[in-house]
């Protein structure tokens, strides 16, 4: 479903060019659970950004669901991002002035979906995640684990092709982190492609397939 072919990403740092990714080839099947591990600066963030269409490869191609997305315009990429990719971040990135339900609803709002449809989907998803009672709370009234659940619900609301989770437990305590991970794994067991980006080897090893990034190169 996801295919990277000879992807490189070079940043210009002053006069010097830094190779964040060098000639990466990667294929991810639908429904896979894959972890991308590596120390900071190894290129895993760049990898995440490229997989999430937040960044473009300098060379190489990225095929998502059979479509070469590297050739698309910014506007078209936005649409792909909205419909096919769900992000889960280390720092949750919820909009502080919005309630849990409104945060979950946001991608649907951006897509111009009908309010009735939005309400129905949000209610169903919050219910599924055991967050119904918290729907009207703002992020600062929620615990870390609850915030991440809301964030995962938001990532799921558009029924994406894959979830990219960037250190999803990095800002949570051990127990809560485990719960959140279980939730993500449960989604994967129901067929959702899950890409877990982490520097934590113990966490990464839970995935069925691990790849390591080191100095911009990917090792299976």
């Amino acid at each position: 479903m996801i295919t990277l072919k000879n992807v490189s990403r070079t940043f210009l740092l002053g006069e010097e060019s830094v190779h964040a990714l060098r000639d990466v080839n990667l294929h991810i099947e639908r429904g896979e659970y894959i972890s991308i591990m590596g120390p900071s600066g190894s290129g895993k963030s760049t990898m995440l950004n490229i997989l999430g269409l937040l960044d473009r490869p300098t060379t190489g191609t990225y095929e998502l669901d059979g479509l070469d997305v590297t050739a698309l315009t910014d506007e078209e990429q936005s649409q792909i991002r909205r419909e096919k990719i769900g992000f889960v971040f280390q720092f949750f990135h919820l909009v502080p002035r919005m309630t849990a339900a409104e945060n979950v609803e946001l991608p649907l709002v951006l897509s111009g979906a009908h309010p009735d449809e939005r309400r129905e989907k949000v209610t169903r998803l919050l219910d599924e995640f055991g967050m119904s009672k918290r729907a009207r709370h703002r992020p600062d009234q929620l615990s870390g684990g609850e915030r991440q659940r809301v964030a995962i619900a938001r990532a799921m609301i558009m029924d994406p092709a894959a979830i990219l989770a960037d250190e999803p437990t990095g800002n949570l305590d051990q127990t809560t982190g485990q719960e959140v991970l279980h939730l993500l794994e449960e989604l994967n067991s129901r067929g959702m492609t899950l890409v877990l980006i982490t520097h934590d080897a113990a966490l990464g090893s839970r995935a069925r397939r691990h790849i390591c990034t080191l100095d911009g190169r990917v090792e299976a």
């Binding site: 963030s45 950004n49 999430g52 937040l54 960044d55 910014d74 506007e75 936005s78 649409q79 991002r81 909205r82 419909e83 992000f87 971040f89 720092f91 990135h93 909009v95 502080p96 002035r97 919005m98 946001l106 991608p107 709002v109 951006l110 897509s111 111009g112 309010p115 938001r154 558009m158």
Partner: protein, 403 residues
């Protein structure tokens, strides 16, 4: 790709609500600008209408003759040539009476003097004129009658009192048939004016009116302040004006008078005051540009503060265009609210002006109100272009890296 308009508005509204103080300040800045335009132009327009009314109350088929020749470049021909203009006299006025198209000629002198009766004294303006003045100034009588038609050369010792002067000199008694003293001469009161208030800057209620010749005797004058000529119809004005110039030139040897028509006078004032209103509106508009710059500044801060949120919106699939639209919407909402608040405040301001100065019809002209509203909204949006572009151009990966 398109967000629902209601959702855009709601998002913008919540974003503004999230930064309440900042939003209120921006609304305030815009509203002050709009209110300033509304109030200032209503003052200018009020002054214009006031002056117009004053002129129209003098009549539209009126020609005023003033001694001396006014030049457009200031000064007078008489001054330049070292000669003084000849006075206007009662004889001039009588000669004018015989011109074709002339219906009425009113000679006028205005003086200051002391009137006394029953031991009470008042300093009052004294008008020396003729029976025609009643029509010219639209005076009505409370009791008695106005100056009778007579040869203007007759210095009859009779007078008409303004309502206030009559009351103050004679208390509750009727002044009719009584005598008042002007300087050292006795005048019989033949009438009292009905209360009238101000007319052309003179308070009619304070006025004492006597025959023009009596005034000249009293103050030892041979000249007139001015002569008002009323033509039979409006169409006669131009012809009579020429006739007056010819006649005066014939009598004085040169055209040493200024002949003014009500039309010319009032349209000159009209032009001046309209220009003034525009100028006031323009000056006030500058404050709106200042408000626009403030909006830009604050929006730039908002973009910096909400970097994380913008990055998130991008990650959730908001296109650069959507981000721009959202920030536009915020600016548009702010400046619309500010503009409406400002015009309400401005209208309230001109209402207060009208209550304080009932004579001045201080209504803001429609062009000024709509112009101010449009300008406020347009500047709000124009000045949000830069912040909105900056927000849309944010690198989402970097934006999200911030906590």
């Amino acid at each position: 790709m398109i967000m629902r308009t209601r959702d855009i508005a709601r998002f913008a509204w919540h974003a503004l609500e999230g930064a309440r103080t900042r939003s209120l300040l921006m609304v305030l800045a815009t509203s002050i600008g709009v209110a300033a335009v509304v109030v200032l132009t209503s003052l200018g327009e009020g002054a214009r209408r006031y002056v117009r009314q004053e002129f129209e109350s003098l009549g539209t088929n009126l020609i005023i003759i003033l001694p001396g020749r006014a030049e457009t470049m200031g000064g007078s021909a008489a001054l330049a040539s070292g000669r003084t203009a000849r006075d206007l006299t009662i004889d001039d006025a009588m000669a004018l009476q015989r011109l074709r198209g002339v219906e009425q000629v009113t000679p006028l002198n205005l003086m200051e003097g002391e009137v006394s009766a029953r031991g009470r004294r008042r300093d009052v303006p004294i008008a020396g004129s003729s029976s025609e003045l009643q029509h010219l100034w639209g005076l009505s009588m409370a009791s008695g009658r106005f100056l009778p038609p007579q040869d203007p050369r007759n210095a009859t010792p009779i007078c008409v009192l303004g309502s206030k002067v009559g009351r103050e000199l004679f208390g509750g008694d009727s002044p009719l048939g009584q005598y008042v003293r002007l300087s050292d001469r006795r005048f019989r009161v033949i009438g009292v004016l009905a209360p009238k208030g101000e007319l052309a800057g003179l308070n009619m209620d304070d006025m004492v009116i006597i025959p023009v010749a009596s005034g000249q005797v009293l103050f030892n004058l041979s000249s007139l302040l001015r002569i008002a000529v009323r033509t039979r119809s409006r169409e006669d004005v131009a012809a009579v004006k020429d006739g007056i110039k010819r006649l005066i030139t014939e009598r004085h040897g040169e055209e040493d008078v200024t002949v003014v028509t009500e039309d010319a006078l009032s349209s000159a004032f009209d032009k001046i005051l309209t220009a003034l209103t525009f100028a006031l509106g323009g000056i006030a508009s500058i404050s709106m540009v200042v408000a626009g710059i403030l909006i830009m500044n604050v929006m730039l801060i908002a973009v910096a503060q909400r970097t994380g949120e913008i990055g998130l919106l991008k990650a959730l699939g908001a296109s650069p265009r959507q981000i721009r639209v959202l920030f536009f919407a915020e600016a548009a909402l702010l400046s619309t609210v500010g503009a409406i608040a400002g015009s309400t405040i401005g209208q309230a301001g001109s209402f207060v002006v009208r209550r304080l100065y009932p004579a001045i019809p201080a209504y803001a002209p429609v062009w000024a109100v709509t112009g101010a509203l449009m300008l406020a909204i347009v500047t709000g949006i124009v000045f949000s272009v830069l912040p909105a572009r900056r927000a849309a151009a944010l690198d989402p990966a970097q934006a999200l890296a911030q906590r």
